[in-house]
Symmetry: C2
Subunit: 332 residues, 2 copies
């Protein structure tokens, strides 16, 4: 049977771990500390014994144990920690292992996608051995067994087919794509628009304004994505529009939550400090802002979100833009 390691005992890493273990894949989740690995093991021991995943899911902070005999290494650490984690662990990755990236973000310091960061740091791996999984995947719903879809993308079609077989489950339908750049950019950039949609909700502007904001934001990230090498169709699909809609729906998205709280007057630092999980959109806004600037790409919506987050622009300025008539030349 298949054996996989999940690097990073994050919410999404643990969710994917359970999903795979539920279908009989042996999953070893690597946590950063022994304390965290033990805590997760103990939590698991308290669950009702009839859960299918229990026999297949374990936790460790020993990287050699985690990687022993695995075919797949699934990276679930947050985007800004990936380089450090990959650097630490990279020497233990061998050329026969296939990598899956789960984080939906861009590295703030470099603007790089997660697959690029992995290829940078892991000498035994090339971009051809890396695939990404991304789609409308609010983890709480997947944990509850509600149906969802997702997309795996790789340069190598054989790899994306294998990854599809790995993840495909009764309630988790996997589509494949050869546009790894597009799928990664969709997953990362939509979090910026979700921050903004959260602000629109925090300002109580209503569903008409929110739909307008999402539509214009989607057009903007699609253009930016194309300028960065994505295929337009990827933004029209489940990894693009689908994930954007799910994330902007709001109730379960961390990025939407941050935007909403900031719009109602809390400082970004305070909101961040109050959260146990990372909202990837925050640092990804920095990365996207710089990438667009380097390309000379117009990004009025991302720029507005950037200024609210990092330059003390009052969130009510978003309302003012709407009231000023949202002229096409100065949209949102």
């Amino acid at each position: 049977m298949t054996i996989v390691a999940v690097i990073g005992a994050t919410t999404w890493g643990n969710t994917i771990g359970r999903l795979l273990a539920n279908k009989g894949v042996t999953v070893k989740v690597w946590a950063k500390t022994e304390a965290r690995a033990m805590e997760l093991s103990e939590e698991q021991q308290k669950l009702p014994p009839d859960r299918a995943f229990l026999d297949y899911l374990s936790f460790t902070n020993n990287i050699n144990q985690a990687l022993d005999s695995v075919e797949w290494v699934i990276w679930a650490v947050p985007a800004q920690s990936l380089r450090q984690s990959a650097g630490l662990i990279g020497n233990s990755i061998t050329a026969n292992m296939l990598l899956v990236s789960l984080a939906k973000g861009l590295e703030a310091s470099s603007g790089k996608r997660m697959s690029e960061v992995l290829a940078d740091e892991i000498t035994a791996t090339s971009l051809e051995q890396i695939c990404v999984l991304s789609g409308p995947n609010l983890s709480q719903e997947i944990n509850r067994g509600l149906p969802a879809t997702s997309v795996v993308a790789a340069y190598n079609t054989g790899l994306s087919q294998n990854a599809r077989e790995l993840f495909q489950s009764p309630n988790f339908s996997i589509f494949t794509s050869d546009d790894i750049i597009g799928v990664e950019l969709c997953g990362a950039l939509k979090n910026i628009i979700a921050l903004g949609a959260g602000m629109v909700d925090g300002l109580s502007l209503g569903d008409n304004a929110k739909a307008t904001f999402i539509t214009l934001g989607w057009a903007e990230i699609t253009s930016l994505g194309i300028a960065l090498g994505a295929q337009p169709e990827t933004f029209y699909g489940l990894a693009g529009l689908g994930d954007l809609i799910a994330t902007c729906a709001g109730s379960l998205s961390r990025n939407h939550y941050v935007g909403r709280e900031v719009a109602t007057g809390r400082s970004l630092a305070e909101v961040r400090a109050s959260m146990s999980n990372i909202a990837e959109g925050i640092d990804t806004t920095i990365a996207a802002h710089r990438l667009a600037s380097n390309l000379g790409q117009e990004i009025p919506i991302i720029d507005l979100i950037y200024r609210v987050l990092f330059e003390s622009l009052p969130p009510v300025e978003i309302t003012n833009r709407f009231r000023e008539g949202l002229k096409p030349e100065a949209i949102v």
Copy 2:
């Protein structure tokens, strides 16, 4: 100053009437019966006297009075009543009047768009004198003064520019389009997807499944729209995706409400009978189903909604499709 008639004292007709009257346009709303016109006049007299629209908005059931001296005739009757209304009133329309269509539906018996129905019935009018207004425009929010955007489309660019000036308001930003076919199809077809999204919500499938459904539904209505002569870009914009997202958000959409109620076990007839307003998506589903069949266009999602609404397919079949793995070849 500009004088307009609004044909049909519907929720949306009255909302647009107030919006125009608020900017000093003289608006005469034509109601079908004297009783309805009097009821609306009396309701208006009870409002606080500081409302800007009060001096400019009146109600009548006398068509000659309604059309006297008007430049614009704004059609706000429901889609399935438009032919009859236009037939009754058509002889009173003169060649100098410009027409605006508001209804977001297709005629069930013919599959025709609203502008086509108007051109059929009104001899003094050609398609070049007709424009349409459509966008993410939940009327309750517009009545509350929340910001919204919309699109006016006409074959004639001069006409769409004039219509833009007519409707543009501080909280209602108007964009123009030359794709009248696309804008009308977007407004009509999105109501079908909103019915389905309501079913997904009624089945409590979650935001991941709902986002998947909306994304695949959007792709399906975009393909159908293109086959019917629409420009693809129209579906990517505010009249397309924007209106779809606002309508599927749910809380204020009649079509979403119908889908949700049907999914929780009520009969379509019962839900319809309980509503004071018309959910345009129901009859439009019939029209779209026939149009697609005539074109040989695959419409698995619309077909599923059609069968739940009209052929007693149990709504839980939608859940089953998700659980069966949503194979691309048999999507949703």
